[in-house]
């Protein structure tokens, strides 16, 4: 209402200024909190003390212009900084015609154009004439890898988001021609290279390796010129240009640094170190997300959990000291057992439902259904006020079943279940009819038929509600111990964090000593002595009273479920059993063993890690060296393994710089496919070029060859710029061997944790649950998850430690009550259910003389396969009983359908 009456239009910043809204508005329908707010910069009342229309029209009386800003003083034990990133200055974009030509957009603006709820309802149109563009160009590295604007770093995410936006655009408009202009294609995230290849093949997106210097307008179209790697000049006309703008430090980074008293790095991001990537320069102030350095969603989420772990370590003694525990009244069992007294609440959801469905008609219809004693409509059922009022009405009318006819139970059922609990009713006694997401929203043009459908859905929900029964809320106790598998940098970091948070850890390492790949590393990517980092970690682990280290040990079997696992560990011919509540997988990875390139045939051909081992013993081996050749992507990116190993580019550059330090006159050649020195590592790449390291691009079709000769080694390769083969006599050839997964197959089988096609462990959700595994209570970090740097492994280990500590901290795991229950009087012990259960949650046990099925409540996910296949109908599903579903089926017909 307020938005409707406001006379003051403002640009809609949520839609990247492509749309107009009013001073009081809500950014988007799903915003949390879901209340409207007033843009104070535009409001007439705030600025000129006039108007006040919105306050008068607000039916809820929710607008109060007398409210003043308040200052709060909070006493906290730790601070986590997660202010995100800032935008590249528009002055930088002006060089590319932004602001001058309307059809030059930022990628953020383009993202809104592709969105169905965006300003153009998902139609990709040119702002100049509202017509769909035929040719679109994406320009990469705008405001990134560009020292002229002060951003020498790589923003790490733009290559991938450009490919995503191009793919989405192709899905909307298959005929549009899209070219993306890359310097290097940096899709080094887990699964990203694969996704990029699929996008290129499926949608035919053109990949051009060139940097476009400027954008001009010719006859209403946008003219670009560029130079490719072979030295050829090109030009082309486009209808739309999308600028893949980078991520900057937040605008208020300076202020944050001052207020929080923390140091920033030379790009104004929070300064951290490789071995403590989430810790700022001030004790107790932690950092997560893009403020620590440009990064994508899964990495931000990982760092977020990691920062939580560190805060939890710092404040372990004060855990639960300030949290508020909700208490519930006892259940009114006698009321629950009475004949169903059903209350139906039909929600308007503002205009979301009421704009299509005749809510009052549905409400009145509900009143005609058997068992319904109360039927009402509510404006927003989920608002705090409405919940209170619903609770009161349930009490006043002694309702014992409730039907909420509103949105999706997937999102809102817990809220209404909570309401029932708060007044002493079992939460299983509420049923929802989804008349918004699956009715009003999808039948917007057919209000009458949508209303009919809503009535049907309510009738079916009421029929089910009549048969709802209270369900127990089972919980199981948690063994406060974590099993960490793998004693490398990730495993040790995870173990230390869990132990510092106050829980026991059993750390199992298959090798004779702790350290994993860190033992072979000489320097970290930020130049620290890797052996010191290792020594420090190992000492802390060994000295920690909560950590039990088992080396030369192997996990033979794991049984149980979250909270109560039992594992068998074999060690020196003996086995022991360990009880634990959670599992952290940190099994690591290995340096790929190169095939070809004369590796193993000549001592002059080594891997990067072997080079580091040589370097750590001094520079003697460089005495007669003149030319060093490095070859990237050995084993990676389709050569043998499909994935990109992510850090070999940076590692090569780091080692090249080290060689240059030791012997400046050395010629170093690096043959690469795309240099993927993402984030601040770009600084190292630039430094290497400045110091004369030569970078030569190659493609899979014309790979460099290493030829063993009687007196040394020759590297033969095609140089794109010269257009011919070159030959380099090499004193040393260094192969940037990728990272291959460890031996994960056996463990994957034991734990039932799935692997990716490459053999790394698969996370529960690529974006939002990056350190969890599909099996509850099992977490993941380090190279076991995929190639990553030491810094990223440590952050991920902390994140896994946070997730693993959650069940340990709670002490109990709640089990969803919608589990299967076996009526053992009916069970004939046939075992069909046991063999079908995908979660091993049903076992046959001897009861008296016969075997009977029994559900392991904590493992059951409530899928109901057992119930639908039981020949004697002995299995019932909580909340989804045969009777309830049958009642819904019978209520499907408006006339009703009697039992047949």
């Amino acid at each position: 209402m307020c938005t409707m009456y406001c006379p003051r239009p403002v640009v809609d910043t949520y839609n990247e200024r492509l749309d107009i809204t009013r001073a009081p508005h809500i950014d988007y329908a799903q915003a949390i909190p879901s209340s409207y707010y007033i843009d104070a910069r535009a409001c007439l009342r705030v600025n000129y003390e006039t108007c006040n229309l919105c306050a008068q029209t607000c039916t809820a009386g929710a607008i109060d212009f007398t409210e003043q800003p308040k200052e709060l003083v909070l006493n906290v034990g730790a601070v986590v900084l997660a202010p995100g990133f800032g935008r590249v200055d528009e002055k930088v974009l002006e060089k590319f015609g932004y602001g001058r030509y309307p059809d030059v957009l930022t990628a953020f603006e383009f993202e809104r154009l592709t969105c169905a709820s965006g300003p153009s309802e998902g139609h990709i149109v040119r702002p100049s004439d509202n017509r769909p563009p035929k040719k679109i160009a994406f320009l990469q590295c705008i405001g990134s890898r560009d020292e002229t604007c002060g951003n020498g770093y790589c923003s790490s995410v733009c290559c991938m988001y450009a490919i995503k936006e191009a793919s989405v655009a192709k899905e909307h408009e298959p005929d549009v021609d899209i070219s993306i202009f890359f310097m290097d294609v940096r899709t080094m995230g887990k699964g990203f290279d694969d996704a990029r290849k699929r996008a290129q093949q499926k949608y035919g997106i053109n990949v051009v390796r060139a940097r476009v210097p400027r954008v001009d307008e010719v006859d209403g179209r946008l003219a670009l010129t560029w130079t490719t790697g072979d030295g050829e000049h090109h030009s082309g006309l486009f209808d739309m240009v999308v600028l893949s703008v980078g991520l900057e430090s937040p605008e208020d980074a300076g202020l944050i640094s001052q207020v929080a008293d923390i140091e920033l790095n030379h790009y104004n991001f929070c300064r951290t170190s490789v071995d403590a990537p989430l810790v700022s320069s001030r004790n107790g102030v932690l950092v997560a997300g893009a403020f620590q350095g440009p990064k994508d969603i899964p990495e931000s989420v990982t760092q977020a959990s990691g920062a939580a772990a560190i805060a939890s370590e710092l404040l372990a003694d004060s855990r639960n000291s300030e949290t508020v525990t909700v208490t519930y009244p006892d259940e009114d069992k006698s009321l629950e057992e009475e004949e169903p007294r059903i209350g139906v609440f039909v929600c308007h959801c503002g205009v979301n439902i009421a704009g299509v469905v005749d809510v009052k008609a549905v409400r009145d219809y509900a009143g005609t259904l058997p068992g319904v004693v109360l039927y009402e409509d509510t404006l927003y059922s989920c608002s705090q006020d409405a919940l209170k009022s619903i609770a009161e009405k349930i009490k006043d009318n002694r309702l014992n079943r409730v039907v909420i006819s509103a949105c999706s139970p997937r999102t809102h059922e817990p809220l209404f279940q909570e309401t029932l609990r708060s007044i002493g009713l079992n939460p299983a006694l509420v049923e929802m009819a989804n008349i918004r997401d699956q009715c009003a929203w999808v039948h917007a043009q057919e209000p009458e038929r949508a209303t009919e459908k809503a009535k049907d859905l309510v009738r079916m929900a009421v029929a089910k509600a009549r048969l709802l029964a209270p369900l127990d809320q089972p919980t199981v106790d948690v063994t406060p111990t974590a099993l960490v598998i793998g004693g490398g940098a990730a495993g040790m970091s995870a173990a230390l964090s869990i132990a510092d948070q106050g829980y026991n850890v059993v750390l199992v390492e298959k090798g004779r000593s702790l350290g994993g790949n860190l033992k072979r590393l000489t320097w970290t990517l930020d130049g620290q002595d890797a052996s010191m980092v290792l020594k420090d970690m190992v000492e802390k682990v060994k000295a920690h009273k909560n950590i039990d280290v088992l080396t030369s040990a192997k996990v033979e079997s794991v049984s149980g479920y979250v909270g109560n696992f039992t594992s068998t560990i074999s060690r020196g011919g003996k086995t022991e059993m360990i009880n634990h509540g959670v599992i952290v997988l940190a099994t690591g990875g290995r340096e790929y063993k190169p095939k070809g390139y004369a590796y193993g045939e000549s001592t002059r051909v080594v891997t990067q890690l072997e080079l580091e081992e040589k370097l750590s013993r001094g520079k003697g081996f460089l005495k007669n060296a003149r030319n060093v050749v490095m070859i990237q992507c050995v084993g990676s990116r389709g050569e043998d393994m499909t994935h990109c190993s992510r850090l070999c580019c940076t590692q090569a550059v780091k080692n090249a710089l080290k060689l240059k330090d030791l012997k400046p006159e050395l010629n170093i050649f690096i043959f690469y496919r795309d240099m993927r020195t993402y984030g601040f590592y770009e600084d190292l790449y630039r430094e290497a070029r400045r110091k004369g390291v030569k970078f030569i691009r190659y493609t899979l079709v014309r790979k460099p060859e290493v030829i063993k000769q009687p007196r040394g080694i020759m590297v033969k390769a095609f140089d794109e710029l010269i257009g011919d083969d070159i030959e380099i006599p090499a004193s040393l050839v260094v192969l940037s061997a990728g990272i291959s997964p460890g031996e994960n197959e056996e463990l994957s089988r034991i734990i039932k944790a799935p692997l990716t096609p490459e053999g790394f462990f698969l996370e529960a959700h690529a974006k939002l649950r990056p350190v969890e595994v599909a099996v509850d209570g099992v977490y993941l970090c380090g190279l076991a998850h995929g190639p990553k740097s030491l810094e990223e492994s440590v952050a991920q280990a902390k994140a896994a430690a946070a997730k693993a500590a959650i069940p340990l901290a709670k002490g109990k795991v709640a089990v969803a009550p919608i589990v299967s229950r076996v009526n053992q009087d009916l069970c004939i012990g046939c075992g069909i259910c046991e063999s079908l259960c995908p979660f091993s949650a049903i076992t046959l046990e001897k009861v008296g003389k016969r075997k009977k099925a029994q559900t392991i409540t904590a493992s059951c996910k409530g899928c109901g396969i057992c119930a639908s296949h039981c020949p004697t109908i002995a299995i019932s599903m909580g909340g989804f009983t045969d009777e309830a579903i049958m009642a819904q089926i019978h209520a499907f017909s408006p006339e009703g359908c009697k039992e047949g």
Binding site: Q30, T411, N434, S868, F880, I889
Partner: protein, 80 residues
């Protein structure tokens, strides 16, 4: 359904304007979720389906499907 009833039904379906009544069994984790996000994205589709949410299509007993047809469903949609 008796033979003549089936024929009658087919006849009815052949007529223009026939609107089938479909009963859907949607898996909570995938199809039901997808139907929700279809709503969030405001995709439009005909209002002929009524939905019963189950926690997995594995829950669907053959008896449910037969019962749905007996109760007048012209089609049963299982989504999982």
């Amino acid at each position: 359904m008796a033979q003549e009833n089936v024929l009658e039904k087919e006849n009815e379906m052949a007529q223009e304007g026939f609107e089938p009544r479909i009963l859907g069994f949607f898996c909570h984790w995938c199809c039901y979720a997808a139907a929700d996000s279809a709503g969030v994205s405001r995709y439009q589709y005909p209002p002929n389906v009524r939905v019963i949410r189950v926690m997995c299509t594995g829950r669907i007993d053959i008896r449910f499907i037969l019962e749905a047809f007996r109760c007048g469903a012209d089609g049963v949609f299982t989504g999982g």
